[in-house]
Amino acid sequence: MEERDGEEGGGGKVRSLIEKATNSISPEVDPRLLKAIKFLVRSSDSELRVAYETLMHSMKTNHSQVRYLSLLIIDELFMRSKLFRTLLVVNLDQLLSLSVGFRRNLPLPAPPAIASTLRLKAIEFLEKWNASFGFHYRQLRLGVDYLKNTLRLQFPNIQANATRIQQERRERELRTREILLNKFEMLKENFDSIKSEIQLTVDEIGECLDIVRTKEENMPLDPIDDEGFEEFRSSELQQLRLDSLKEAEKVHENSDNKVVFDTLRELYKLLVSKHLVAVHEWVSVLVRVEVTDHRFRDSALKEFIDIRNHIRSIQRKCEESGCALPKIKDDDEEDIWEEGKIEPFEKGSSSTPNKDARVLSGKSTSNKVKNEAPESSNKSKIKLTRTSEEGVNDSGSLKDKLKAEAPVLNWGSFLDNWGSNRDVLANQRGLELEGHWGRVDYDAVIPAKKIAELNVHTTVYKEERNEIQPCRAPLSKGGLCQRRDLKICPFHGPIIPRDDEGKPANVNPTLGDNVLDLGTDLVEELARKAVKNVRERDKEEARKREIDKQAMKRAKLAKVREHNEAVLRDAAVASTSRSMVVGDLDATSDAPPMSKSKKQTLASMLRNKVTAKDRLAQRLLNTRARDATTRQLTVGEDENYREAFPNQW
């Protein structure tokens, strides 16, 4: 460094700054130094040339960290200065071989961890440089091409990825727009038919509702009316009666109007699950589609919104009309399962009128079904069949008991013929079986026994996890012991139920027992207990004190040992291979030569872990031997070090 300074007086400052910046163990270049370098380099071209030379020189250092930091500075300057770029690209292959290490005879130096980050960073930088300046520098293109196509190194491909994602998004948008447009065109064609279809359903529902209402008014009100007129006259009773009438309105369904109700239900389902969804869809299509023909779009949108509102009102009316309506989920995804859910319910609800109009119970079951329906579809079927049975059966207590005991089965196709004991025709599945493999026996039968055998299924025993209770013994530092052991806590003995403060909870019960047993000795017992408690506490305190004392002693010992070790280390500094470098560095950087704290240095990154041998040597070296070896080793190591790290010297 001194010679070079002599050669070129001007660039000394840049050089020293760069050397300072690269001689660090941090993963980033010190921003202040970097700023200073940039400021200096910006001022003149000659400074920039010096900086370039210094950086290339430090790239040749046999230490990945130095190379890494140099590369970071190079990147900073490369992105900024044209002159620097023109200087750098001439020797780009050299820079790449030093930073990527693609030449087999020139691998990256230690430490390996930083070497790999250096390689990644170098490739990333190269890509970045190529992206921004590739057109101006053939060398950049060549380098990228060589690394990418000849050596097949993995490039991060940041730009390409970004553009690809952009492209994909654009394509997706384009496709959705096209689909929307198609839908829109379809809607344009079919608008009237869609509208008329919905209108038809709505009209039918209206008719059904009318029928139901008229029937209600005609038929069931008559007897009540008669009785009411005769017996109840007061206003309160009138009110009551009206309420009950209203109540009655909702639930009237019997064998006479069953057909109407069924139709109503059917239509309702159609309306909600099909038309309403369709209308929503069309509305969203109309909102999203981009067309020139705004007039049709707006009018259609308006109409659809009207239709939607109308359907909503009809829906509300239906619900108010009180016929037990199926709950229809709006999700289209679960279309397949809807059938499965609704079917057993309808069985249940249709069974209610048969049981002498147990309306309330029927209602409750349907509610139950409604609640349970969204449950996991796996179990729904079994549970549903159960609930329907519940609805049928009055004496639920026995059934409940049995049910509580009964195992829960996972859902499966075997449930379709649960409990059936029939033979099954093997070759009559609706498949046209050609006799490729010989004659087909259409009468082949699988016997019921075989079926049962085939249906045998296994269940895996699953252990019930019950929580292991924490120990909850009070701790000396406050709080409760949170260890979870099955029976015995290694610190606090057997685990027993304890209260919030950690006192054993079963002391009182035993006390209580004692009280029960020896009621007369109560006072005595209490006194004994108190004495025992006091003693225990005393003991505890004594033990605590002892522990404290021990801890203090240990701390003191540790301090002494530390001091001893420090003294030993000082004594052995610059005499072992390991501490050598530290001393050396300190000496060169004008720091106090025997600094106790081991400063982390570049050399320390290269150094291996302290071996047992090192430690032994450290202990064994006495002062005399130390002095002798110090002298001897310093010379040799000094030479080595200077060779290895010329820029740090």
Binding site: R42, R80, S81, V90, H136, Y137, R138, L142, T150
Partner: protein, 459 residues
């Protein structure tokens, strides 16, 4: 600035036209650097072994590569542009490779143009074949089966009376293939190992020079049997042969020690061959300018035992990997696997002892050298770089670094003063004079793109 002055001088006649042209050429050559605006998009998937720009138009670059492919590029007209016209891409006009029904099976080691026009080109390959291609139909017109791998093929650029392809192969014999008849016209035996490189003289259409793996460089006159000269690295003359006029005076006075010594030893070297050759040879050697009476006197003093020792002379330790005759046909440059570059005086056959500062040359492969038109610079592939040496002093004048692997071949196009290099990294790089006064006009249209490549100090 000085350029305008020179132009003015040329106009007023103070500077003769030829010298002005030479001045422009040399100034352009001295500023050769990797061209950013001319990209040859290499079609090859293997190392590029051979490059040649056609001699008639100076427009089509022929390349042969290790993946058994040969391609032709138009180096004057770009196929497409990139970076808004900043980078001109030269894609191959056509490629012949393994998929071609008559294509080569193994690496193409040599691809050369027919010297008279661009309608024919010749490729030699490691699959023992030399193919003569019709450029326009890209079909094989003739092919020659050689006894071994073909290392190098050459055609004389001067020839008016023959159409012979000289082929150096693994075999010890050099064969001359006659395109007109489709047969071997000659078989030249003399080398003791494969022949790495062959080169026709640029002063006589009959003289062929071959360099073998045995380290010998032999000169052949194809009109007669046997080789007439073997270059010997120990036979040397100091420095450049004096120009013709001075030479005459020197001959008279015979004061120059070195030249007289050289001449005397040259007599010795040549006489053995004379003996094998038939009597009246002196007129048939166009390159021989030595006085006839001197030859005659030397022949008398010839020792018969010299013959075999002379025949065993070597030009390099190891194989001769490259040969190049200067444009004027007076000097021969040879590269050897001993990492030496030697300059030989063709007429005397002496090593001129120019010390070229080569560091290392590729040893295992044939390398293709190139010289400038005025023979002032020689371009030599030195491992991953190409170096330009001053022919007379041996000093390195330019170093071209751009290839990431070894460079095999280079070709200097004297028409545009551009250098083309091909290497193991599959690239063909163009080295062109940095844009100067000539291309200022072009610069203006690229102005707005160039603005991107500027200083950008954020702080």
């Amino acid at each position: 600035m000085s350029m305008w002055k020179k132009i003015g001088d040329r106009e007023t006649g103070r500077l003769c036209t030829n010298r002005f042209a030479n001045y422009v050429r040399s100034s352009r050559v001295s500023s050769l650097s990797l061209s950013n605006y001319k990209d040859i998009v290499s079609a090859h998937r293997g190392s590029v072994n051979s490059l040649q720009v056609d001699l008639t138009e100076g427009r089509y670059l022929l390349s042969g590569a290790s993946d058994a492919s040969a391609a032709v590029y138009d180096i004057q007209q770009a196929t497409d542009f990139e970076g808004s016209g900043l980078v001109a891409k030269h894609r191959p006009l056509f490629v012949v490779d393994k998929r071609h029904e008559h294509g080569h099976k193994y690496a193409v080691s040599s691809a050369i143009w027919y010297p008279i026009d661009t309608g024919v080109f010749i490729t030699g390959s490691y699959d023992h074949f030399i193919n003569v291609w019709d450029t326009n139909t890209t079909q094989v017109a003739v092919n020659f089966k050689m006894p071994g791998k073909v290392y190098r093929t050459a055609m004389s650029s001067l020839s008016m009376s023959h159409m012979l392809i000289a082929a150096g192969t693994e075999d010890v014999q050099v064969r001359l293939c006659d395109i007109a008849s489709g047969a071997f016209a000659h078989t030249l035996s003399g080398h003791r190992d494969g022949v790495m490189t062959v080169e026709w003289s640029t002063s006589s259409e009959w003289v062929l020079m071959t360099g073998g793996c045995d380290g010998a460089i032999r000169f052949w006159d194809i009109r007669r049997a046997g080789c007439y000269r073997v270059l010997d690295q120990s036979q040397s003359q100091l420095g450049r042969r004096p120009p013709l006029l001075q030479r005459a005076t020197v001959n008279k006075a015979s004061t120059s020690k070195s030249s007289s010594a050289g001449q005397s030893s040259s007599m010795k070297t040549r006489t053995p061959q004379r003996k094998i050759a038939n009597g009246n040879v002196s007129k048939q050697f166009p390159i021989s300018r030595l006085p006839a009476q001197a030859k005659g006197s030397m022949r008398q003093r010839l020792h018969p035992g010299l013959l075999s020792s002379q025949d065993r002379a070597t030009a390099h330790y190891g194989a001769v990997t490259g040969l190049k005759v200067t444009e004027d046909g007076m000097y021969l440059l040879s590269a050897g696997s001993d990492s030496r570059l030697r300059l030989w005086d063709v007429e005397s056959g002496f090593n001129t002892l120019v010390n070229f500062e080569t560091v290392r040359l590729q040893t295992s492969k044939m390398i293709q050298l190139a010289t400038t038109q005025d023979s002032s610079l020689v371009f030599v592939p030195c491992m991953t770089a190409v170096k330009a040496f001053d022919v007379w002093s041996g000093k390195t004048s330019l170093i071209f670094r751009g290839h990431y692997e070894n460079v095999n071949c280079c070709w200097f196009s004297s028409q545009d003063q551009e250098l083309y290099t091909g290497g193991n990294d599959r690239q063909i790089l163009v080295w062109s004079p940095s844009k100067s006064f000539v291309e200022e006009g072009k610069d203006t249209r690229k102005g707005q793109v160039h603005s991107v490549d500027e200083d950008n100090w954020s702080d």
